[in-house]
């Protein structure tokens, strides 16, 4: 096995890890919160007070 093949395996492994992370997090989130809450977003509503779970700001701390 050459070093480029190692990089290829690493790429496959990272892809699987990230893919599984998204899948498991989606399943966990679906179970943890009610469907009404998850789908409560409404078009055109501009309301800063809607922010929930303040420690998590979509990557913006």
């Amino acid at each position: 096995m050459n070093s480029f093949q190692l990089i290829e395996y690493a790429a496959w492994a990272l892809s699987i890890v990230l893919g599984l992370y998204m899948l498991f997090d989606t399943i966990r989130t679906n179970r943890a919160y009610s469907e009404d809450l998850l789908t409560s977003s409404r078009e055109g509503e501009i309301d800063e007070a809607l922010v929930i779970d303040p420690p998590h700001q979509g990557g913006h701390l």
Binding site: M22, R42, I52
Partner: protein, 461 residues
């Protein structure tokens, strides 16, 4: 404890954290890869002069798109962009089609970017002596990694895009300066340019790939629900974006057409990188290789952002199953739409040829632009300037709409010349999808709920 009760509120919305720079990064980020590769196939269709005419004709088309988009989006500030606009201005069936155009255009473009990225890494591997180097692991990694980034949050995603896009744009400017455009020391337009080898039909044919210089700039308005000040940020980011692209496209054409004969340029895979190689400067070669990789990543990243917002909006309005209209309570992203579109992009990237993927992306975009020209005429008639306050008013109405419609019509003919079967196949697909929506899906839509803008009754109704 039931975690449902731990949420400090009753509703979840997308997060309003973006500024004009993010909007610029989203629009230019999606498009700039077109300067690094793809535009030069227009040279193959009709020669370098034809590609320049196509560059400016497409530039005119997209300036009209950006102006029209900026006006309408500054009043319809909703995720889904043109989908939400057409829902309010024309009606549900048009909106459903526009939503599909958007998802197709961006998902195909994402797949094309991933294919290109895989090819670049494979080429580097082969140049390093690994003849068996594969592209597939890197195609998959690019799509999954960027989907993960989008899944985690919009601010980080588009900040990454801002950095990648800025570096890729600066790389073009540095290369342009390095070839000394003010002298004939390196550039040799006088000897290389050969007029129009296929005449004016070649010019028309080159319009097909001329779109590649700017395809996707209209994606800025997908961020409408996530920018802090939509009425200001969206027009500012979009107009700054199209100006950046017009400059980048012209610089790219000028330096590439002065360094390479059209027979080579017309089929080069990475024309800007090849131009850097012709300067024999190692730092420039490294810089342009990095620029090529970054522009590809930024484009795929922006495409995931835009396709997922369009899909999410259609789910939220019940045009698709409502399951897709969910927002992640912590990351504040349309997480189900992002995850759902990953296997779709992977399938196209893994199995479809690059030119087919690009053509389907161009066709979907073209259908969207055609609708925009009609929509803005309806918009101005139904809600004149004194009826609804706009954040931006585009000048010379209806000339931009008519120019847009004319150039779109010419481009359909150009696509038909090279990819007639795909054009017909795509039309058939959208007709079948429209029938499905009209006869099956629309009964699930809550008709009153889908119109959310607080607008007065339209004139004449």
């Amino acid at each position: 404890m039931n975690q449902t009760t731990a949420v400090h509120g009753e509703k979840i919305s997308l997060l309003r954290v973006l500024g004009p720079a993010h909007v610029w990064a989203l629009g230019v980020g999606i498009v700039l890869v077109g300067e690094y590769m793809g535009w030069n196939f227009a040279v193959g269709k009709g020669g370098a002069i034809a590609a320049l005419i196509a560059c400016w004709a497409a530039g005119l088309l997209y300036t009209c798109v950006a102006m029209i988009d900026s006006e309408v989006t500054s009043t319809v500030a909703a995720a889904g962009g043109q989908y939400a606009q057409s829902k309010h201005i024309i009606g549900p069936l048009m909106a459903f089609n526009v939503g599909l155009y958007l998802v197709f255009a961006y998902t195909m473009l994402e797949a094309a970017n991933a294919i290109t990225l895989g090819y670049l890494v494979q080429t580097v591997g082969q140049m390093a002596g690994f003849a068996e180097a594969q592209d597939k692991p890197f195609i998959v990694l690019a799509i999954v990694f960027l989907a993960w980034l989008n899944y985690r949050g919009v601010y980080a995603t588009l900040t990454v895009n801002l950095v990648l896009t800025a570096i890729a744009f600066i790389a073009v400017v540095i290369l342009f300066t390095a070839v000394k455009p003010w002298s004939t020391e390196m550039l040799n337009h006088k000897e290389i340019l050969n007029g129009l080898p296929y005449g004016w039909i070649g010019v028309l044919a080159s319009l097909h790939f001329g779109l590649w210089y700017y395809l996707g700039i209209e994606g800025t308005c997908q961020a409408a629900e996530e920018v802090r000040s939509p009425a200001r940020s969206l027009p500012l980011g979009t107009m700054a974006g199209i100006m950046t692209l017009l400059i980048a496209a012209t610089m790219t054409w000028y330096l590439c057409s002065g360094l390479m004969p059209w027979e080579y340029l017309g089929q080069a895979t990475t024309p800007l990188f090849d131009a850097a190689r012709l300067t024999s400067s190692t730092p420039l070669m490294v810089l342009l290789f990095i620029g090529t990789m970054f522009s590809t990543l930024a484009s795929a990243n922006g495409c995931i952002n835009d396709a997922s917002r369009a899909w999410f909006s259609m789910g939220r309005d019940r045009y698709l199953p409502t399951w897709f209209g969910a927002v992640h309570p912590k990351n504040r992203t349309p997480f189900r739409s992002i995850v759902f579109l990953v296997p779709v992009a992977l399938t196209f990237a893994y199995f479809a040829p690059l030119d087919q993927v690009i053509t389907f992306s161009i066709l979907s975009g073209l259908l969207g632009y055609t609708y925009m020209s009609i929509q803005v005429i309806f918009f101005r008639q139904m809600w004149p300037l004194d009826m609804i306050k706009r954040g931006y008013v585009h000048p010379f109405h209806p000339i931009p709409a008519l120019v847009l419609l004319t150039i779109c019509s010419a481009t359909y003919f150009a696509v038909f010349l090279g990819y007639g079967t795909q054009l017909v196949a795509m039309m058939v697909f959208f007709i079948v999808a429209s029938l499905w929506f009209h006869f099956h899906r629309y009964k699930y839509v809550r008709r009153g709920d889908q119109f959310t803008m607080n607008w007065p009754r339209p004139q004449g109704y």
